[in-house]
């Protein structure tokens, strides 16, 4: 059995992997939770759990999906613990304004705010596809959906996002 962190380099390689992946993991957690502080906590907790479970990572090339799966589970746990009742998107946008702001591009900040307004079931596959480079099949496996369902969600995500951003949607197809 292949052990990507075997031998004397085990800890160093795992540290290096965490360093490399952390920025994207934090971004993924942020778009999942729409809460910067929560995202940072989820990522830290994820790294602790990952360290403890590193023997289950058999292929270093699969590290990113492995970490993302842990993040999703960890976020779900946090969500269950905190039992959020209602979410006011305007409040979320205002709270995360420092993260959503784009100093030289107001349109980018508006696009980020529009992403906040997407339903979770549309935003998550979109982030996996665009930010993480996942294929439809990989998203389907991660989210436990069929490929057709993933494509439908991605289609609806972009369609809604384009409307929210005031894009020219005259040529957009009907569902």
């Amino acid at each position: 059995m292949k052990d990507p962190f075997g031998g004397n380099q085990r800890r160093a390689r795992f540290q290096a992997l965490c360093q490399t992946l952390r920025p994207d993991l934090l971004r993924f957690a942020f778009w999942l939770s729409r809460d910067r502080a929560l995202a940072e906590d989820v990522v830290q907790e994820t790294m602790l759990r990952a360290w403890k479970a590193q023997d289950s990572l058999l292929d270093e090339g699969a590290a990113k999906p492995w970490f993302l799966t842990i993040i999703r589970r960890e976020y779900a746990r946090t969500f269950e613990r905190k039992r959020f009742v209602t979410l006011d998107v305007d409040e979320l946008v205002a709270k995360e304004e420092p993260t959503l702001a784009a100093a030289d591009d107001q349109g980018l900040a508006e696009l980020r705010a529009a992403l906040f307004r997407l339903p979770d079931e549309y935003r998550e596959p979109l982030v996996l596809q665009v930010l993480m480079g996942y294929s439809t099949t990989e998203i389907a496996a991660e989210l436990g959906l069929s490929s057709a369902a993933v494509l439908t969600r991605l289609f609806r995500a972009r369609k809604q996002l384009r409307v929210l951003c005031g894009e020219d949607t005259r040529l957009d197809p009907e569902e």
């Binding site: 540290q15 952390r22 090339g61 999906p65 980018l108 665009v130 993480m132 480079g133 040529l171 009907e174």
Partner: protein, 241 residues
């Protein structure tokens, strides 16, 4: 035969889909070509929008991350050796994460990755080489020649990158297409690996000639394979100035 509605539903779900039927449709449809260009511009902005800053906030001590504080009580119940190892991972991740983002290399890497979003067609897996005259023209603009041992080059384009025209090449490997950008204007003092937004790669400093950016896309890419291509391409380049 795919119609416009089918094409646009497909491209809206995955703007980088390289399906043969979609290529066939868009090649003969002016409206869908325009639609695709508009969508890819939006996609490029979407990619930028998702890349929020990922550095640690200033008001948080990197030495004692909040989650580590929350873990303190639990950690006391854990074996001391395990905690020491985990804490070192956290500390290294937080500190190095900050350094990683502050270093000059990643911003160059981020720009390279951002550039990729604008040329999805370059990533096709193929065994058809780019016509030699096209490759020669692209390389000559950067005062570069490429020997055959670089591998099969399937794509070559002169791209505007950070205010300079640079060669953007795609080399086919057994593991798939690997993109190489010859950045003669971008000096880099150290070799920098990156993993951002689905792209993994390396910036290789070339003393006196700028740097090479070599990258693959997809979550299962092998950075060692990317390094191997980088070494091969570097050895195959002749600098003509």
């Amino acid at each position: 035969m795919m119609d416009c509605g089918q094409y646009r539903r497909s491209i809206l779900a995955d703007p980088h889909d390289d399906d043969a039927q979609m290529r066939l449709h868009v090649a003969g449809c002016h409206d869908c070509t325009a639609y695709t260009e508009q969508l890819l511009r939006f996609e490029s902005r979407l990619d930028r929008a998702l890349r929020v800053a990922a550095e640690v906030e200033d008001n948080r001590s990197p030495a004692v991350p909040p989650a580590a504080q929350a873990q303190a009580a639990r950690a006391r119940r854990l074996p001391r050796r395990w905690f020491a190892a985990a804490a070192s991972v956290l500390l290294a991740a937080v500190v190095a994460g900050s350094l990683w983002l502050a270093a000059p290399g990643p911003s160059l890497a981020a720009d390279v990755v951002s550039h990729m979003a604008g040329e999805p067609g370059a990533w096709a897996r193929t065994d058809i080489p780019v016509p030699q005259p096209k490759l020669d023209k692209v390389l000559s603009e950067a005062h570069v020649r490429l020997r055959a041992n670089a591998g099969l080059v399937s794509y070559a384009s002169s791209c505007l990158f950070r205010g300079h025209v640079v060669p953007h090449l795609v080399v086919q490997t057994e593991a798939g297409p690997v993109t190489v950008m010859v950045l003669t204007h971008e000096s880099s003092r150290t070799r920098v690996r990156f993993d951002e937004h689905g792209y993994r790669g390396v910036i290789v400093p070339i003393p006196g000639h700028g740097s090479l950016a070599v990258l693959e896309r997809g979550p299962a890419t092998d950075l060692e394979a990317v390094e191997s291509v980088a070494a091969r391409v570097q050895s195959a380049i002749d600098w003509t100035t």
